[in-house]
Symmetry: C2
Subunit: 343 residues, 2 copies
């Protein structure tokens, strides 16, 4: 007996990745319903080689289902999550709508799976940049205590969805052909350019993305006094977010100790042999489950400081994979005997 | 009566930019000799619409010339700089060969032109990432005292020369056509990727680029105890380096005060109206003289902290323009009555 799930936002970049992750992990899905927006009415998509119709949300859509995985943005989640709860399905929400709610567990299973027991029908999936950072930061925090974090991100265009990927590719073709890059999804040209602008600006000069990284990291580490400054930057990379991180620790930690710690941490792979050009790049992390960590070195700005570089596939660990891992932890019958070890 | 100059490395990305800067600033150049490597033997290049032959260096090449601007790498500079000095020409060296020598002034004219008086025949031009950072950092340091700096860079491929630009474009075409990206100049694919790797790795895990940014910033600010951690990253941008910077200051400085200070700083332009997407990007800085500063906001990791984003054309302020500015300060007859105001 397997699990029954609904996926809301099934045609989006994350929705499609959820279907791939379910296939790859051989999650025992007995029944699946896929929901998309009005413009997909009458369409279908493929799951395990079979055609599945794309449906529109309606009252009762989730009745009799174990879980609903939502990746259709905060506006949709604000109505679809309460519907899932009232219809008896666990909502695993990839939007930012409920992440800061103190009554809603915000979970990266490797870090705080213990919070799942507190879920009242909804678990929030964190922001992708925060999730990737947390995979590297949480083991450090547990072992050595993290006091301050400075992070600069190099975020892929697919973080803004499939249309943003298409715009990046189209603009790049235009520039190479000597034509102007015409922005539409992004506010400025992204081809051969970088934009220090992810999500909307707030009045303090930070972007919502930068605020999410700060607040969600604090919440997931259960470290409300953590000082964290992020600069979030979009780069012309199609997939995978990279992050340059400098941390101050409570207790001394050498680069060797940090690498040893990460080697023992589920979901983390150390790639750190600079003499042989061994360091992670977005292309290395693409399609993989682990967050790759490298460029580990002392940071001299702090007495007990460390700098490192981490890269993760933001559609997987930053979104789809993490959501499916939450499903596996929350609803054990979703774990197949044949599936890879769950971390 | 104008100035007589030689340019060593005249066919490279920086050498060509030096010729453009001399044209644009209408530097009164009476005589010019252009030197290039063996593979340019018999060739020529254009300066002020006239063809100038490319020559090979030989004893006596610089005799009777006021200054030699060198941009052919550290190996060439190690022999050509002593030759220039012995032949009576001021060497303005863009390589890293002499920058750390305590007897050699390392100059960004807006910051430390006063050091030019100490030159014994040679002035060093700083690393491009350091020069751009310093344009923003020096005014802050003078007014508020800078204690700690954390910087993550987004460096253009042209910083590695014309062949690197060609590789980035060719790889990008290949990827868009579904062909594999084959790296040659860069150690890994740069198309739709980012590499946390600029210059060679040292045994402490840092790159030489990261070490240069630390040491050159200390030397130019005359601040030997400055704590600075850099992560230098190559991005698929053709021209202009961007930097995400977080600083701790000795004295409190609000974002408003910092913007006011930068508005009064020669060579700096503030672009900071987030509500209208007013922030600098590499494409905005291309071909310009000023370093653009934006995204100014409080940094919470420090009690007196500030974060900002700065972007500069690394072939101009990071190299060619700075070298020509040094020429203008060191040899006043190189300043044309008609040239733009020298900063």
């Amino acid at each position: 007996m397997g699990v029954s799930i609904a996926v809301v936002g099934a045609t989006g970049a994350v929705g499609q990745e959820i279907l791939r992750v379910l296939e790859q992990r051989r999650t025992p899905v007995d029944r699946i319903r896929l929901f998309a927006s009005e413009k997909s009415r009458g369409g279908e998509t493929t799951f395990r080689g079979e055609r599945v119709p794309l449906e529109m949300l309606a009252p009762g859509s989730f009745r009799g289902f174990d879980a609903v995985l939502l990746s259709a943005g905060a506006t949709v989640s604000r109505t679809a999550v309460p519907q899932a709860i009232s219809e008896g399905a666990l909502a695993i929400d990839n939007s930012s709508a409920f992440r800061e709610d103190p009554d809603v567990p915000l979970v990266v299973p490797e870090v705080n799976a213990h919070r799942l027991g507190e879920a009242h029908g909804i678990v929030a999936n964190p922001n992708c940049t925060a999730a990737i950072l947390l995979m590297a930061l949480a083991p450090l925090h547990r072992a050595f205590g993290v006091k301050r974090v400075i992070v600069a991100s190099y975020q892929a265009v697919s973080g803004k969805g499939a249309r943003a990927m298409a715009e990046c590719e189209a603009q790049t073709r235009d520039v190479l052909a000597g034509r102007p890059a015409v922005p539409s999804v992004f506010p400025k040209p992204i081809a051969f350019n970088v934009l220090p602008h992810v999500d909307l600006f707030e009045s303090d000069g930070r972007t919502r993305e930068e605020i999410k990284v700060e607040r969600e990291t604090r919440k997931i580490l259960e470290h409300p006094t953590l000082a964290l400054d992020a600069t979030c930057v979009r780069v012309p990379v199609l997939r995978c977010h990279s992050e340059a991180v400098t941390v101050e620790l409570e207790r001394p930690c050498s680069p060797e100790e940090a690498r040893d710690l990460w080697r023992r941490s589920p979901g983390v792979t150390v790639v750190d042999e600079p003499a042989r050009n061994g360091y992670p790049t977005p292309l290395d992390a693409e399609g993989g489950d682990d967050v790759l960590v490298g460029r580990v070195r002392r940071a001299t700005v702090f007495e007990r400081g460390l700098s490192f570089w981490c890269v993760g596939d933001q559609l997987r660990k930053g979104a789809a994979l993490n959501a499916v891992q939450i499903l596996e932890h929350a609803i054990p019958k979703s774990v197949a005997a044949a599936s890879p070890a769950i971390r």
